[in-house]
Each structure stands twice: as structure tokens, then as C-alpha cells.
């Protein structure tokens, strides 16, 4: 094949966008799965995310690190889905960054001996949605607070506070071995 044929791939519609996006799909999928908790929903979310990103492909191609930008589109798509269903209407109002932090635990000894997946999943489900999202993105997926700030359009200081609340809550709930369904309902009403 002539080397010039390769140029066609540079100029072909979609080729540059596909080449740019494809390496990010696995990480987007993991994030989608963590947000949705379902393989099927995660796949749908990926497809809708790429459909939304495509018209802005020129913007994507200009980015040095398109991953967080794509994650932002994915997160917005996910929030829009839930808002359409009316599920996330009040979720973010529950996360007042100005409210005082809960009193820090005073136990002198570690509360946790081990953290089992099932207990962790149950405890995660009790968190208010903004806290759940930030702890999943930061501690499970390894996004930095600065990246999450760009993805969620939330100041780093607020994210720090959310992350701290989430960790304290997870620690306390796993240690207590009890998970309040009422708290879960508040988070995803």
C-alpha cells in the first residue's frame, strides 16, 4: 500500500476523532460502571457520551489531555439522564459546602480491620450522590482533585470537603456495620 494512502486516514472524517478517543474508552467505561453500577447502563452511557462529544471534535483534538474533558461529558450525560427521570433533582442541594464538617472521630485506634467489597458497596450506596461521585472518582479511579474540579465544575476546596465527609461516613458506617436506608433515600431521592 502506498504510504500516501495513510494521509487519507489523517484527513478522513472521524479518523482523528476516533484515534483520539479510543484510548480513553476503557477508563471512561470504568467510570461509567462506577456511576451506574450496571454494565448495560455503562455501555449506553459511553455511547451517548461519544455522540455528545463528536460535534465538538475540533475542541477535543486541540486538547493535550482529552480524558478529563471526555469524563466531564460522561458525567454531565449521566446527570442529565437522572434529572430527566427526576431522581437527582435534590441530590446536589444536600451538599452544602458551607455547612460545618461533622465532628471528627476521636477513636485512638483504627476502626477498620478489613474492608470487604460488599460492605463497601453498601456503605457507598448510603452516601449523598455528590460525595459518592467524588470518592469514586478520586479513590477508586485515581482522578486528581484538580481533574475532578474540571470534570464536575466544582471548586477544589468543595471537593476536598466532600471527599473528607465521604471518607468519614464510609469509615463510620463500615465500622458500625449498619447502613441507613433513610440516608440512601436522601441521597438519591
Amino acid at each position: 500500500m502506498s504510504t500516501v494512502v495513510r494521509f487519507w486516514h489523517h484527513l478522513r472524517p472521524n479518523a482523528a476523532f476516533e484515534r483520539c478517543v479510543r484510548p480513553h474508552v476503557p477508563r471512561l467505561y470504568r467510570l461509567a460502571w462506577r456511576l451506574t453500577g450496571s454494565q448495560e447502563d455503562a455501555e449506553d452511557l459511553i455511547q451517548e457520551t461519544l455522540l455528545r462529544a463528536y460535534p465538538k471534535r475540533d475542541q477535543v483534538l486541540e486538547l493535550d489531555a482529552p480524558g478529563p474533558w471526555l469524563a466531564r461529558v460522561l458525567h454531565n450525560t449521566w446527570v442529565d439522564r437522572w434529572r430527566r427521570k427526576g431522581v437527582m433533582r435534590d441530590a446536589y442541594s444536600l451538599d452544602d459546602p458551607d455547612s460545618p464538617l461533622p465532628e471528627a472521630s476521636t477513636s485512638d485506634e483504627p476502626l477498620l480491620v478489613a474492608v470487604e467489597s460488599a460492605a463497601l458497596e453498601q456503605a457507598l450506596a448510603t452516601l449523598p450522590e455528590p460525595q459518592r461521585v467524588v470518592v469514586l472518582m478520586h479513590d477508586a479511579e485515581g482522578y486528581t482533585l484538580e481533574e475532578i474540579s474540571r470534570i464536575l465544575d466544582v471548586p477544589v476546596g468543595t471537593l476536598k470537603s466532600r471527599l473528607h465527609r465521604a471518607r468519614e461516613a464510609l469509615r463510620a458506617r463500615i465500622a458500625a456495620g449498619t447502613f441507613s436506608s433513610a440516608a440512601a433515600c436522601q441521597g438519591m431521592r
Binding site: W8, N14, W33, L50, L120, L163
Partner: protein, 201 residues
């Protein structure tokens, strides 16, 4: 410095991202506060637990399935105009050949745009390295996938013998002027000028 504040700084402390004026008080607090050290121990377990909650394996074809609809959507107008082909043949042997071009009738798209594929046939008598290509586009003409770009430049090699470069373009209402394809190699320059009037229907 209170326990809540210190606990929010633990990540930055361990990642060596704390400013010096905060690092000292945080370290000092941790040295003296057993509760915060206990929190940090538990935090390690929590983070490990979260990181090991492994998602199911991504279906191998997910990327392909997700990108396919975009490809189909974008290629549809191209397919409509598949029969529309402008061929520009360049005898690239030392860039002394005479260009030939021929145009087929065009097909208009629904929004007043028309798609065309220009084919440059480049016949090189020998391998030619580092040939510089430059496309200059008149107003209202774009290369598909590169909206708004008036010039595109790249460098590549030509194999000996026939080489073919297909350039999918979009002609919008009001397209006027010439499309210029410029090839440069070893100080020699070859230019092809294609009037948009020969591309549009």
C-alpha cells in the same frame, strides 16, 4: 490546626504536595494525635478497598460499537456522493509531469452543501522521502473532519510507482475560488489548482 483540617490534608501530605507552611503543622498534629493516625490507617484500608472494586471487563468491541454510529452518520453524505469523484492525476516524476483532471457531476446535500472526494494520483519514478504536502482551501470549502481549517500541511514519503491520496471535501453555499495542492521535494515545487467551479455542480 483541628483534626478535620488535618485529615483533609493527608492526601496532599503523603503526595508531597503540601506547601511548607502547612506541612509542618500537619505533621506536628499527626505526631501528637492518635485519633488522626488511626484515621489515616483506616483511610488506607478504605482506599485500597475502593481501588480493588474492579468493574467487569469491558466488552472488547465496546469502543468499536460506540464509534460505529458516528462513522455511519458521518459517512452517509459521503456515500450519497460516492459516485461523485474528481480525479486529479499528477505525474510526479521529478514533478515534471502534466496534471490531468476530470470531474463527474455532483450531488447536492440537504443543507446546500455538497461532498466530493478529490483523488490525487501521484506517480513517483523512485521512492521520495519527506515530500511536503500543503492544501490551501478557498472560502466555504473544508476537508471533512477539519472544519474551519483553510490550510493543511503534512510531510510523508512517496513509494516508487503509483500513490493515491483521497481528500474528502465539503463544498458549502458560496464556495468560490481555487483549491491549491502544493507538493515540494528537494527544492522542486509542483502546484495543482482546482477551481471550485469544476467541483460544484
Amino acid at each position: 490546626m483541628d483534626c478535620n483540617t488535618v485529615r483533609q490534608h493527608i492526601d496532599a501530605l503523603r503526595g508531597h504536595r503540601l506547601p511548607a507552611d502547612i506541612m509542618g503543622p500537619v505533621e506536628d498534629h499527626l505526631r501528637h494525635c492518635r485519633a488522626c493516625r488511626a484515621f489515616e490507617t483506616d483511610l488506607g484500608l478504605l482506599r485500597h478497598g475502593l481501588a480493588t472494586m474492579t468493574p467487569p471487563t469491558m466488552p472488547a468491541d465496546l469502543a468499536e460499537r460506540s464509534l460505529r454510529p458516528l462513522r455511519r452518520r458521518h459517512h452517509m453524505p459521503t456515500a450519497l456522493a460516492a459516485s461523485v469523484m474528481l480525479t486529479v492525476a499528477v505525474l510526479a516524476g521529478l514533478f515534471l509531469g502534466i496534471p490531468r483532471q476530470a470531474a463527474d457531476p455532483g450531488v447536492a446535500g440537504p443543507d446546500g452543501w455538497q461532498t466530493r472526494t478529490i483523488q490525487l494520483a501521484l506517480d513517483a519514478p523512485e521512492p521520495m522521502d519527506a515530500v511536503r504536502f500543503r492544501l490551501e482551501l478557498p472560502e466555504s470549502v473544508e476537508v471533512q473532519g477539519h472544519p474551519g481549517r483553510r490550510t493543511l500541511e503534512w510531510t510523508d514519503n512517496l513509494a516508487a510507482g503509483p500513490n493515491r491520496l483521497s481528500i474528502p471535501i465539503v463544498l458549502m453555499d458560496g464556495a468560490n475560488g481555487e483549491l491549491l495542492a502544493r507538493l515540494e521535494h528537494g527544492g522542486r515545487i509542483r502546484e495543482l489548482r482546482v477551481p471550485t467551479s469544476s467541483l460544484a455542480r
